[in-house]
Chain length 173, copies 3
């Protein structure tokens, strides 16, 4: 039972994922993909951390998501990945241009083999005008393709706006 | 019975709000938050105005929304606020940086105390790549947070695309 | 029975349109509006073409959409237009500034008269911050207005995210 939660900036997608993790009744491990590169990002990370229950495990992994999921997945555990957008952004900015393909393929190959439950949070970024720049267009394209691939593998896909979920696939939240 | 109507640019959200206002059977007061700063904006305002029935009241208020709502709310009246996005933009651009927080908190405190009905129209702006700039990111963040806060207080939340509403909360439009 | 399929970049809207065309049981003619101006666009066009069945007809028409639809529409045929966004972009960039209005009005006048079935694919571009530039704002405005006008004429309107359709109007996909 894996879930993909898509939504815009400040749409409440992380809060929804946290509610679903709590409601699952399983032990929760939070997998943070962010890298606190500047003060603004550090403030966002602190804001998210303050909201999470103290008993949740937390793992920080900006790049090697598939192996991190394999290492921590257990029947009685839900892994909350927040968020795929930053992971994708980290990979596309990596010095090794082949790393993204390898990590993406590893994620898609690993997901169906994992015990327990995974909740993915990701930003929908393809519904506006794409600003100039080849890297930006590639980011939007790869995010869209990743969402399609993961949505096909997940049991439930939700789209969040104003904190409220629309069900794209599976049971309503 | 308050309603939040979210949608993209030219999605038909204002026209939907106007239909709901008419269908309410109540007297309608239109609350315009725009400031006709240039010719392009003046043309948009004129376009909206030409579509509204002549018997509707109209109040222009770019900043002090909570006190305007308090002043005009009545049991037999629907207040149509078009739109929150411009109000937010006006506040974030105000010379007094504390004004936004004060006005936003006043709006959220006032809404549950109002008689009658309020229809809010707002742009969803968080589903694309956010262009560079700290003010732009702040605008997207504050719009998203405001939508979540208002959606929690409203009885009905609608998402409009191509003139057609999806129901996020409450009864279908 | 005409259908409008809206979605973001890489949302799976073209693949959905192709599945619906195949499922219709009718002969399919694909109407491509793109102009292979550079290597990146040529690669996108080749990617789409490789996915289409060999027996589908294909017509390339960047501007004169209404007359192309009239020429090819038949009771036993579905016309798949991919995509309106590029057509709109071609028209707004045309040397003749009156061409866009004429072609848009011709499309809206023609659609109700056509035999058979039309599937339109278009990008939703109005849900993010609109980057600076009068032409960009006009493009977003005209795309939104066109979607509203076509949605009013179509029997079915779908919004696609992560390859999964939400039904805005008509029967679910």
């Amino acid at each position: 039972m894996h879930t993909l939660i898509l939504g815009g900036a400040r749409s409440g997608k992380s809060a929804l994922a946290e509610r679903l993790a709590t409601a699952s009744g399983r032990e929760v491990t939070y997998i943070a993909t962010s890298q606190p590169g500047d003060a603004e990002m550090a403030a966002r990370i602190a804001h998210h951390r303050a909201r999470r229950p103290a008993e949740w495990g937390c793992v920080e992994e900006p790049l090697a998501l598939a192996s991190t999921l394999r290492l921590h997945a257990r029947d009685d555990r839900v892994l909350l990945v927040d968020c795929l957008t930053l992971w994708l952004s980290n990979l596309l900015g990596d010095v090794d241009p082949t790393r993204f393909i390898a990590e993406r393929d590893a994620l898609l190959a690993t997901l169906p083999t994992l015990p327990g439950e995974v909740l993915f949070v990701s930003n929908e970024v393809g519904l506006g005008i794409v600003p100039m720049g080849e890297l930006t267009r590639r980011f939007v394209d790869e995010a869209g393709r990743l969402h399609q691939s993961l949505a096909a593998q997940c049991d439930r896909v939700l789209f969040v706006a104003a904190g409220l979920p629309l069900t794209l696939k599976g049971a309503p939240a």
